[in-house]
Every structure is written in structure tokens, then in C-alpha cells.
Amino acid sequence: MRQKIILRVISKFLIPYILLFALYVQWHGDFGPGGGFQAGVIFAAGFILYAIIFGVATAREVLSATTTRFLLVIGVLLYSGVGVAGILLGGNYLDYNVLADTPIGGQHVGIILVEFGVGITVAASVITIFCTFAGRRPEEHEEEYGEN
């Protein structure tokens, strides 16, 4: 769809706002509707729009398979890491109260970090799912066995 100039211009114009909106939904999640899951999906939607218009290969130059795989892991570890931080600071697992000086401050810190972890992993998963289905050839398919 590279040759359709309207699609190209409009999507180029829209994508930054989509990504920005994703970040708004992400960081404003503890005050209004939103949160990590929605933000992740919106962010991935912006990326997928780019992939549809300019091709999956071009999009993969921005975020390679290795990067998305890494992001998948980072998100999960951020979430569970916040839980472990709760233990290390003297609370129970996922106890946000101990994360800052006051319990309310702690709840803020905790939920923002946890939701950020969710956002990263969801965005990376949706992008991975899209690219796996859209990519023509499997990224790694050498059937090689260790022994025999």
C-alpha cells in the first residue's frame, strides 16, 4: 500500500498521536479509565498500522523480533519484580504500601510500575502475534537437532 499517497500521509500523521494517546492511557490509568492492557493494545495498534501501510519488513526494522521478545520478558519481570520488591522492603508479595514513604504514595508507585509492565508485555505480544501471522516465512525454521 506504499503507493497510496493518502494512506501514507494520513497514517504518518496519525501514528505519533496514536502512540501518544497510548502513553496517556498508560500513565493516566490510575486516575481515569485506562491502564496497561488498553495502552499496550493502542500502542501496538499504531505499530500495526505502520506495518500494514509500509510493510512488515520495514516495521520489523523499527522493532526486531529480538527486541519484541526482550520486551515481552521485561514486562513480566517488571510486574513480578515489583512484587518481589514488596517482599524485600518488608511487606508481602505485591504489597505496594511499603514501596514509598506513605501507603498511598506506595500504592501509586506500585500500580504505575505494575501497569507499565502489563503495557510493555501486551504491546509486545500483540505486535508479535501480528508479525507472526503477517510474516510470510517463519522467522526461524531450521529443524536442527543436537544429537543423532
Binding site: L72, G91, E140
Partner: protein
């Protein structure tokens, strides 16, 4: 400080270690990492069991939120015992897995294999440890999704259809479970299992609660492959990679049985509903049919792995039969059989994995004459087979002894006879394999077979050894099982 956080570490350790595998990616390093984690999980669960036996129920509130609102982990004797089974099998399977993975999984996907295996363990432990009905569903999905992937790793292309079929059946099961949880929540406003067990008796046998019980039992029945909801199991076990079959056969159905015990005995244990809807009688009928159908079908299988899969169906029947008695001896027999069967079947599938590794297949013709070529592996197979039959001095005997005793206590001598007859069927299918192993000349493929490598033999013998040790001295396992059964039924039961 660590001691009070053991319940959560039990889950978080494998759960966090799994994504780390995705970063490491190097096959050997990932294996070392995964093995290390499973080795750490085992002492945690043992420490929990010891603590529960000494001091009673352990409660851990996640995020510091109190029970009916927050999620709590609640460990009593029953689930502490199941935790030990799962972590022990995990710790034995990991060292065993390396050799089989070399030949069965493409190098580029080995890291994914271990990621999924750790996730599956985390999910199964989560189902076991949690005290929250919805949280149980989440972990059910974690373990199920990873086991679908694990089964699809099988080298045979039929593994894909087997995994797909399991996916469909498993999803229906999980959906039914969550519908049941939804109905309970609708009627009680609570998701906490302990809380539910107190609220539900007050509601009596309302239609909503009855429907909830129906959905929960059918959903979990699918998961634990209770006859006639077992159709996914034989192919899944047959075509999955060897290490996966060992792990799933020894843990996944056991954990599902545990979940069913929780539902019927903890949540609905004190309700008259079990008299309105004769769940126990239904369990008994299905259990007896499962015992016979499983054993009969096993007797004419050519693929030994599939034979053992059908034998698993029969063994699940024994566990459910124990539960259906609704007496302390019966339930204890069912619980102790969770452990006993995990040890025997795990060991047997490991022996088959070694055959697949050396000979390249596990059909009867592959095993011909292996008695001389792989004496230790075949000896372990025979020892495990004797356990399945229920020969004295094996764990199988202990389970069946208490099952028969429970049947006689109730005066149901017919059931006792059926148990014995069903054991005779086990003699037939085990003997068929033994005959081929020891009395037939080695086939062409088996000519060059060598004894299995030590990294496979030792885990096999650890499990088979356990199945003999706990058959001779069953006090430890029986003490825990009886204590758990007493706690479930109340002393009067």
C-alpha cells in the same frame, strides 16, 4: 524472613524464571537454569509440608489484602502434599529431559521448551496453592496453555492434532469451570474458597448452586480426563515428547484431581447438596467404568506409550473411586494414590523415553529383546509394571489395599471384587510387554541398542525406587494422606 514468604516463592520462582529462559536462549545454559530452579522449588515445598504438618494451615495474603477481598494462598495438609508431588516430579524430570530434548526438539526451540516446562510447573503449583477460586482458574490457564505448547513439540506430526484436540477439550473444561465460579460468585459474592465453604451451606441447595456444582465438576472432569471425558488424553500422552509425557502424566491430572477434591469436599463438603445431587454415586460409576475401559483398551495397544496412557485412565478411575467412598479411608486411599501413581507412571514413562532415545520408537516391536540390551531400563519398567498391577511391596499395593478396605468398610464387597478383577487386567497388559522384552529375540532396530545413559537411568530409578520404598514403608505418605482426609471430612466423616 524467607520462611514466611515460602508460599509465594514457590510460585514466583518458576514463574519469573520462565521468561528469563527466553533471554538466555542458549540450550545448555537454559537447561542448567531450569534444572536449578526446579531443584530450588522442591525444598520449598518440603519445608511447607513439614511446617503444615507441625503447625497447621498456612495463610499468605497477596499484597497484604485480607482474605475475602484479596487473594490468599492457603496451604493445608492436602495441598502441601500435592505441592511436594509436583515439585518432586519437576526436579526429577529436568535432569532427565536434557538427553531426550537433544533428539526430540529442534535446537532453535529448546529454550522455548524449558520456558514452557517451567511455566507449566508454575501453573500447576499455583492451582494447588491458591485459596481463591478465580485465581485457580488463572493458574489453570497458565498450566493448560503451556501444556498445549509442550505437547505440540512432539516430533510426530500427529502431536499437533493431539495438542489441538487437548486445546479444544481443555478450553471447554476451563470455560465450564469459570462458569461454575461465576455462578457461585453470583450466589455468594465471594471467590475465596474458604469463605465459600462457609457461605454455601447457608444457601442450601438453590438452583444456582446446583448448576455451579455441575459446571465445576464437568469442567474439572474434562481436565482430569475422567471417563467419558478422556478422549484428549491418550493421543496427547502418546505423541508428546518423552519428558513432557513424564511430567504431565505424573502431575497434570493429579493436580486436576486435587482441584476436584477442593470443590467437592471443601466448597461443597458441608452441604446437603451432595445428597440432593448424588455426585459421589456418579463419580463411583464413572470411576469403575474408567478402571475397566482404561485397562481393557490398554490390553490391545501396540504402542506401549499409548498403552500406559490408557492405563493412566484406569488409575484416575482408582483415585476417583477412593473419593467417591466419602469416608476417611477412601479419600485417604485416593490421595495417597495421587503420589503413588505419580511415582510409578513417571518412572514407567521415563523408561519408555529411554527406549525411544536408544531405539527410536516405543511400539512393541521396538521393545523386542531389549531385556538383554538395556537390562536396567527394562528392570525399571518391570518394577513399575508390578506397581500398576498392585503386587505387594509396591506402592500400587498400598493404594489398592486401602481402596479395598474402604469398600469393605462400607460393605460394598462388589466394588472390592471389581478392584481386584481390574488389577488382573493390569497383569495382562503388563505381561504382554514383559513377554516381548524378555522372551522375544531382539529385532533389527533393537540389535544395536545400548543401555540408557546415566542421566536418564538415575531419574528413572529415583521414581521407581520411590515407588518401591513407599510400597514397603508407606507410613510417611499414609500419615499425610490420612491427616489430609481427616481435615477434609472432619473427624466424624
Amino acid at each position: 524472613m524467607i520462611a514466611q514468604h515460602l508460599p509465594i516463592l514457590q510460585i514466583v520462582l518458576p514463574l519469573m524464571a520462565a521468561p528469563v529462559c527466553m533471554v538466555i536462549r542458549h540450550p545448555q545454559v537454559v537447561w542448567i537454569w531450569a534444572t536449578l530452579i526446579t531443584f530450588l522449588c522442591l525444598p520449598i515445598s518440603i519445608a511447607l509440608l513439614v511446617q503444615v504438618m507441625a503447625e497447621g494451615v498456612i495463610v499468605y495474603e497477596l499484597g497484604g489484602w485480607a482474605a475475602p477481598w484479596g487473594i490468599e494462598y492457603r496451604i493445608d495438609k492436602l495441598n502441601a502434599f500435592v505441592l511436594v508431588i509436583v515439585t518432586a516430579i519437576g526436579a526429577v524430570v529436568m535432569p532427565y529431559a536434557r538427553r531426550t530434548v537433544d533428539t526430540e526438539i529442534p535446537v532453535s526451540r529448546v529454550y522455548l521448551f524449558y520456558t514452557m516446562l517451567l511455566l507449566c510447573e508454575a501453573g500447576l503449583l499455583g492451582i494447588t496453592i491458591t485459596g481463591d477460586a478465580f485465581n485457580l482458574f488463572v493458574f489453570l490457564e497458565v498450566s493448560s496453555l503451556s501444556s498445549y505448547v509442550l505437547i505440540s513439540f512432539g516430533k510426530d506430526r500427529r502431536a499437533l492434532t493431539a495438542a489441538y484436540r487437548y486445546l479444544i477439550m481443555g478450553t471447554i473444561g476451563a470455560t465450564f469451570y469459570i462458569i461454575g465460579v461465576g455462578l457461585m460468585y453470583n450466589a455468594t459474592g465471594s471467590l475465596n474458597i474458604y469463605d465459600l465453604s462457609k457461605i454455601i451451606p447457608e444457601l442450601g441447595g438453590s438452583r444456582t448452586i446446583q448448576a455451579a456444582l455441575a459446571f465445576l465438576t464437568v469442567g474439572l472432569g474434562l481436565k482430569l480426563a475422567l471417563f467419558p471425558m478422556h478422549m484428549w488424553l491418550p493421543n496427547a500422552y502418546t505423541y508428546a515428547p518423552s519428558a513432557v509425557t513424564v511430567f504431565l502424566a505424573a502431575t497434570a491430572t493429579k493436580v486436576a484431581v486435587y482441584a476436584l477434591i477442593r470443590v467437592t469436599y471443601t466448597i461443597f463438603g458441608t452441604v446437603d447438596i451432595l445428597e440432593i445431587v448424588p455426585v459421589q454415586d456418579m463419580f463411583m460409576v464413572m470411576a469403575v467404568i474408567a478402571m475397566f475401559v482404561g485397562s481393557l483398551v490398554a490390553t490391545y495397544q501396540v504402542n506401549v506409550k499409548r498403552m500406559l496412557a490408557y492405563s493412566s485412565l484406569a488409575q484416575i478411575g482408582y483415585m476417583m473411586l477412593g473419593l467417591s467412598f466419602d469416608t476417611i479411608t477412601g479419600v485417604a486411599a485416593g490421595i495417597v494414590h495421587l503420589f503413588n501413581h505419580a511415582a510409578m507412571k513417571g518412572g514407567l514413562f521415563m523408561a519408555l523415553g529411554a527406549v525411544a532415545y536408544r531405539v527410536g520408537g516405543v511400539r512393541l516391536e521396538h521393545m523386542a529383546g531389549l531385556g538383554k540390551k538395556m537390562p536396567w531400563t527394562m528392570a525399571s519398567f518391570v518394577a513399575g509394571g508390578l506397581g500398576l498391577i498392585g503386587v505387594p511391596l509396591t506402592v500400587g499395593f498400598v493404594s489398592k489395599w486401602y481402596l479395598v478396605q474402604a469398600a469393605l468398610e462400607k460393605g460394598w464387597w462388589m466394588i472390592a471384587v471389581l478392584i481386584v478383577v481390574c488389577s488382573l487386567l493390569a497383569v495382562i497388559y503388563v505381561w504382554r510387554v514383559v513377554e516381548v522384552i524378555y522372551f522375544l529375540p531382539a529385532s533389527k532396530v533393537a540389535q544395536e541398542a545400548k543401555e540408557a545413559p546415566l542421566s536418564m537411568l538415575i531419574p528413572t530409578w529415583v521414581l521407581i525406587g520411590a515407588s518401591i520404598y513407599f510400597g514397603i514403608d508407606a507410613t510417611t505418605t499414609l500419615d499425610v494422606a490420612f491427616a489430609a482426609a481427616r481435615a477434609l471430612l472432619g473427624d466424624g466423616g
